[in-house]
């Protein structure tokens, strides 16, 4: 952690000020939130179809996703 030149001498001595990692964290939060927006909607839609379809088809669909095809 470095405080850079913007910290006042007193602030530097006390270890106060920004951690200088805020920008990256901010951006990470946005990227994951947009990814979750799409993936979450996909999850709910998938569960909806599977819930209507029942257990056997759910297993079949998951096997398709995991292994590509089912023997």
């Amino acid at each position: 952690m470095s405080l850079g030149d913007s910290a006042t001498p007193l602030g530097r001595v006390r270890g106060l000020g920004s951690a200088r990692e805020g920008g990256e964290h901010w951006l990470t939060e946005r990227v994951t939130s947009i990814a979750l927006l799409l993936l979450g909607t996909w999850l709910i839609a998938s569960l909806l179809f599977l819930a209507v379809a029942g257990g056997a088809l759910a297993l079949y669909a998951l096997a398709q996703i995991a292994f590509g095809s089912v023997a």
Binding site: R14, G15, L16, R30, S33, I34, L36, L37, G40, T41, I44, L48, A51, V52, G54, G55, A56, A58, L59, L62
Partner: protein, 131 residues
């Protein structure tokens, strides 16, 4: 914290009058926690039940469609939509928009109304399709 002296604190929870934006703010955190804990547990349970075979899956489905099971699942669905819409609100506010008091309040109310409407629509679809 390296500082040992007590630092000044900004006014906190107790002095503010409750409004939609405060409700949506704390709901965003509460629904996020609920989804990541209960949602993950139930999703894992569902996958395990699927993997264990017909008998286990039937037991899971019976529990899921019992009154308490439905209560939990409908609650989680609502938590998902509330978190989703509130998240969209956050993304809009990240652009610097919708900070005007009235716009902000309206947007906050819309996330609550929207999550309730979407939850109702989804479960009417699910339960309507079954009977």
């Amino acid at each position: 914290m390296a500082a040992t002296k007590s630092r000044p604190l900004s006014p906190h929870l107790t002095i503010w009058r409750w409004g939609p934006h405060m409700l949506v703010s704390i709901l965003h955190r509460a629904t996020g926690v609920a989804l990541s804990i209960a949602g993950l547990a139930i999703l894992t349970w569902w996958l395990l039940a699927l993997a264990q075979g017909q008998e286990a899956y039937t037991r899971f489905a019976e529990l899921g469609t019992s009154p308490f099971g439905l209560f939990v699942l409908i609650g989680l669905t609502w938590a998902f939509f509330q978190h989703l819409l509130s998240g969209i609100r956050h993304l809009v506010m990240d652009t610097g928009a919708a900070f005007e008091l009235n716009t902000n309040k309206r947007f906050a109310i819309l996330t609550i109304v929207g999550s309730l409407v979407l939850t109702a629509a989804l479960w009417i679809f699910i339960l309507g399709g079954r009977s």
